[in-house]
Amino acid sequence: MSNITEIVKDSNIVKFAEHKIPGGIHPAEFKSLSNQQPIKTLPLAQELIIPLTNSDHISGELQVNIGDQVSNGQLILASATETMASNIHSPCDGTVLEIDKKNTGHPSSLPLAAILIKQDSKTPQSTGIKKATRLQTNKTNRNWISATPQEIIERIHQAGIVGLGGAAFPTHTKFQTSLGKVNTLIVNAMECEPYITCDDRLLQENSSDILLGALITAKAVGASKILFGIEDNKPEAIANLKNEITSLIKSNYNYDKKNYQLPNIEIVIAKAKYPSGGEKQLIQLLTGREVPQGKYPAELGILVQNVATLYAVNNAVVHDINLTQRLVTITGDCVPQPGNYWIQFGTPISHIIDSLQIDSGDIPHVIFGGPLMGVAISDFNVPTQKSTNCIIFDSNEKLLNNNQEDSHSACIRCGECESVCPVSLLPQQLFWFSQSEQWEQLENQDLFDCIECGACTYVCPSIIPLVGYYRYAKSEIKYLDAKNKKSELAKKRFENRENRLAKIKAEREEKRRKTAEARKLAALNKEQDPDGKKSAIQAALDRVKNKKEQQS
């Protein structure tokens, strides 16, 4: 990597990471398959399937009906602001054909709510993405400098931006919870998983937009420092980004110095190692600090954003473009022209296969995401989503069979899993407890700190699907927790009802007792004074007595 040394030499912008993360693995990268070709745009599909949710209910309000005409970028689902959801826009001009449950690639392969749109764009190639704009000449779109944080966050919310690194967490929510707590923006450009190169390529071609997105984000959350974390296997991207930052600093005088203070920007290069791109791992690499268990990075004054997300932030805030497409790495040995493509959300896999003449005849499934954390999808009608950063079409036996034998061989306690765990868990203890379903022990062993990076499974000599066991245990524990809560709630409701009934009964008893007493008293009076004369005389005597007392 003489190239990298050259870039870092005598630079006060670029430096090497001073910290390390424990564990980690070095799988074959397969990145050169797709990171050498310029970005292209995939032709629009005839029909697009836009997933409306990732769970069993839609959080938000549907804006269209079957038969409606929609245009590219038009809002079709307005998310409720208080939920962890984001707006969804139409990725094309067209007509809403169906609103129904479809297989949208959920790991459970259960069908989820989606909208089917038949596109009728006059120019199917157009996707509305502008060429990269250089910062210095971009004087017209600097409204964001005078915008308030809330205005920027609201714009990001409107544009439907989510974390494009893979987790798809709503970006506006992340910004909102970071407001006032954050002094450092860390840009995640690590892209540590094999095959995936979309962030690398985006940095090679559009780093000025990403940089601007980072400035906007820093401004929105009040960060005075921006750190780009990137692996040393992306020398072109680093060089390009460095040039952009250098020219930005030189052009600092173009900015209104009174209203805007340019954050301190640095590029930090880390040795390529999986999974250094995990949010917590990246923070540890760049700052040497660990996010406390059960807390968010904001606790340390840090906000982490992926480069593709920042690109979308720039598009939304500067160019007013809603998020309807993303850069997707299409790769694997079945793809004649592997590379990175702008693909509208909702594009079915089958359309990608047709447009790129992919030889998919023999492969039973593709992988959405990378080979370590991705999802296998065998239904080729499944569409791309906001979280789809890579699709692997590969005929490699291992990628296809995933060593799912009937029964793996026994754990030999070699401890390999432990030595590669980036979180310093004891994967083999977790395995024993998962296998014997000892849920309490699992929680004691910090099962929920597992980031499911798959490093342990990658090195396990007994080929035990460890992460599979952890996923099972996690979902089982969550299910039991929910069940417990539910039954506790039911118990509480039952107890409340019992109490309420008892109270009503007691009140009724009391009332009955009082009336009975009154009746008894009346009956007693009646016995002693059958016609009421006695009491009348008594009353008259009392009146006279009162009068006398008043006179004297």
């Binding site: 424990p22 693995i25 799988p27 790991p107 094999p194 917590k280 540890q284 600090r289 660990e290 996010v291 406390p292 268990q293 059960g294 807390k295 606790e299 499934h365 992988i367 995401g369 080979p371 370590l372 954390m373 991705g374 999802v375 296998a376 291992k398 990628l399 995933n402 060593n403 799912q404 061989s409 026994a410 754990c411 030999i412 306690r413 070699c414 401890g415 390999e416 432990e418 030595s419 980036p422 979180v423 310093s424 868990l425 004891l426 083999q428 910090d446 700190d449 499911e452 798959g454 499974t457 990658y458 090195v459 396990c460 000599p461 007994s462 080929i463 699907p465 992460v467 599979g468 996923r471």
Partner: protein
């Protein structure tokens, strides 16, 4: 079919690891063959056959796939390790008892590979050592100082029948040129110490020096194999390093205390089963500690006990005893050396 990530693997499977360990024994096997003759090879073949057959038998009884169990090569490795630790020309039926006990009682009765708390090879070795102490310590002298060196046929005859066609017995091959018999240097020094000799007197005798030479090269050859394992990342550095360090420190303290009553650290490191133990026995993944800190503690205490038992115990060598002793301590060591999970330190700091 329900596929879940990850989809890739580094191809280092159990059977490959075991095979790599087996092949790393080759330098040691060759050197042992050079100094002690055919007995070494016959031991290895006999013990491997016993080990694999015992494993197959149990798999058959447990109605499990024999091919799958044998393909992990763990039984083969146990057989080879036992074969190397038994003295050459040990009667065939003793090897049989040792190996079958190791595989069936120490390994399979606990549930097979991955479930045995004790190192099977060492259990088999210790069983024989305690039951047949004379035979188990009747090691051949190196061929340079032996009166006569057995041929292949003679070795076979001694192992399986007890006498050669010429009427020679094992004791005849253990005779030195000067008519003395001699066991291993450790055994020799143990006996000498008990007779009241001093270290300087023991190490000066000429056949002690020659015999030391063969054991030195045997240890070097296991060290070479062990370094190959380290270079191929089959084993971790923690256990061998800490074990050798533990031995060095303990032996140094004793030697500095009285250099006429104890052997030097150098002799401890280069004699007996030190290197075989450090790189091939103590590193057995199933029975060793699994946490990085735990491995250091585990190795260091094994090293400590090897020197202590060698110096004060009743048997000349102590690798097997020390390893078994620490095997039983592994759950405790692992419990107290759990690494701190990401973010747990900071959580405590914040709470404090």
């Amino acid at each position: 079919m329900n596929l879940s990530s990850p989809f890739i693997h580094n191809d280092k499977t159990t059977s490959r690891i075991m095979l790599l360990v087996c092949s790393a024994l080759i330098p040691g096997i060759l050197v042992s063959f050079y100094f002690f003759g055919w007995g070494t090879l016959i031991n290895l073949v006999v013990c491997s056959v016993y080990a694999v057959s015992a494993e197959a038998l149990i798999m058959w009884l447990r109605k499990k796939s024999i091919a799958k169990a044998l393909s992990d090569n763990s039984a083969l490795l146990t057989g080879l390790l036992i074969g190397l630790s038994f003295p050459p020309m040990l009667p065939w039926w003793m090897s049989f008892i040792g190996v079958w006990f190791a595989i069936i009682i120490a390994k399979q009765l606990y549930g097979g590979l991955g479930f045995n708390p004790f190192n099977p090879a060492m259990v088999g070795y210790v069983l024989l050592l305690i039951s047949f102490p004379v035979e188990m310590t009747s090691w051949l002298p190196s061929h340079e100082i032996a009166q006569q060196h057995p041929s292949f046929l003679e070795t076979l005859q001694i192992t399986f029948v007890g006498t050669t066609s010429d009427g020679n017995k094992l004791i005849d091959y253990r005779m030195l040129a000067d008519g003395f018999t001699m066991a291993t240097p450790l055994d020799e020094s143990k006996t000498a110490f008990s007779l009241g000799l001093m270290t300087s007197e023991i190490i000066e005798t000429s056949h002690f020096i020659t015999n030391t030479n063969s054991w030195f090269w045997l240890n070097i050859s296991f060290l070479v194999g062990g370094l190959l394992l380290l270079a191929n990342r089959v084993i971790h550095w923690h256990i061998p390093t800490s074990m050798l360090l533990g031995m060095t420190i303990t032996a140094s303290v004793l030697y500095l205390y009285d250099n006429q009553l104890f052997l030097s650290p150098w002799l401890h490191l280069t004699m007996g089963a030190t290197m075989l133990g450090a790189f091939f026995i103590a590193t057995d993944p199933v029975t060793a500690s699994t946490t990085p800190k735990g491995r250091l503690i585990y190795g260091a205490i094994i090293g400590f006990f090897i020197v202590i038992i060698r110096s004060f115990g009743g048997y000349p060598d102590a690798v097997a005893f020390a390893v078994l002793l620490l095997n039983i301590a592994v759950p405790t060591i692992d419990h107290y050396t759990k690494p701190s999970v990401y973010g747990s330190q900071t959580r405590e700091n914040i709470n404090a």
